[in-house]
């Protein structure tokens, strides 16, 4: 069963705290993505990873970093979270060269 998982599903942090969002997939997809979704703005690409330790900035990478040490696992890190990083974060994965992305259920982050 093809699946993308995200942990945690909900998270509340204070401004200045560090945040770790985790994503896993069981399809051996080479490519993984992190997006954020804000009302009325659609999905904005933060980072894309083409495989282990092969990451590239997306459209809005400022304030974020990523880590991919295993093909099935992709982490998004917010060092010293800001209130404007309150959002819903989605992870997705796909085979390289194929077009279908599989999305996780999202993590709802509130930064106070």
């Amino acid at each position: 069963d093809m699946k993308v998982t995200q942990m945690p599903r909900y998270l509340i942090k204070r401004m200045g705290e560090n945040v770790l969002l985790e994503c896993g997939q069981d399809m051996s997809h080479e490519t993984m993505y992190w997006y954020r979704q804000d009302p009325g703005l659609g999905l904005q690409l933060i980072y894309i990873s083409y495989d282990v330790d092969s990451n590239s900035e997306g459209d809005i990478p400022k304030g974020y970093r990523v880590s991919r040490k295993k093909r099935e696992h992709f982490s998004l890190i917010l060092d010293s979270a800001k209130t404007n990083q309150t959002s819903v974060y989605f992870c997705a994965s796909s085979y390289w060269g194929q077009d279908t992305q599989y999305f996780g259920p999202g993590t709802r982050l509130l930064v106070l």
Partner: protein
């Protein structure tokens, strides 16, 4: 610059009617256009897609019409059902052999189907 635009932002139709969701794009090198459906509290899921070599793609009640010359496409949902109430995202991507695989998403159309 917004690469993919969608209209309307929200749409309400009666059950049984045809809902038409519009999408336009900027980059003529885009060659793949997926539509994603998202229910509240869930991640987007691929609904239907089309490649630029085709002008129409059908899957049950869902049909994409594609006009390459005008860089426009539309998603038609015939016999709309209350269960179709969701947000629909149009996306576009360039060929992956360019070395950078990225998808550009529109801002979405929120569809409500009234019983």
């Amino acid at each position: 610059q917004q690469q993919v635009r969608q209209s309307p932002q929200s749409l309400t139709v009666w059950e049984g009617e045809t809902a038409i969701l519009n999408c336009s794009y900027e980059d003529s090198t885009f060659n793949y256009f997926p539509w994603y459906q998202q229910f509240p509290g869930e991640g987007p899921a691929l609904l239907i897609s089309i490649r630029s070599v085709s002008d129409k793609k059908e899957d049950g009640r869902f049909t994409i019409f594609f006009n390459k010359r005008e860089k426009k496409l539309s998603l038609h949902i015939t016999d709309s059902q209350p269960g179709d109430s969701a947000t629909y995202f149009c996306a576009a991507s360039v060929p992956p052999n360019t070395g950078y695989q990225n998808f550009y998403f529109g801002k979405g159309t929120s569809l409500t189907v009234i019983p």
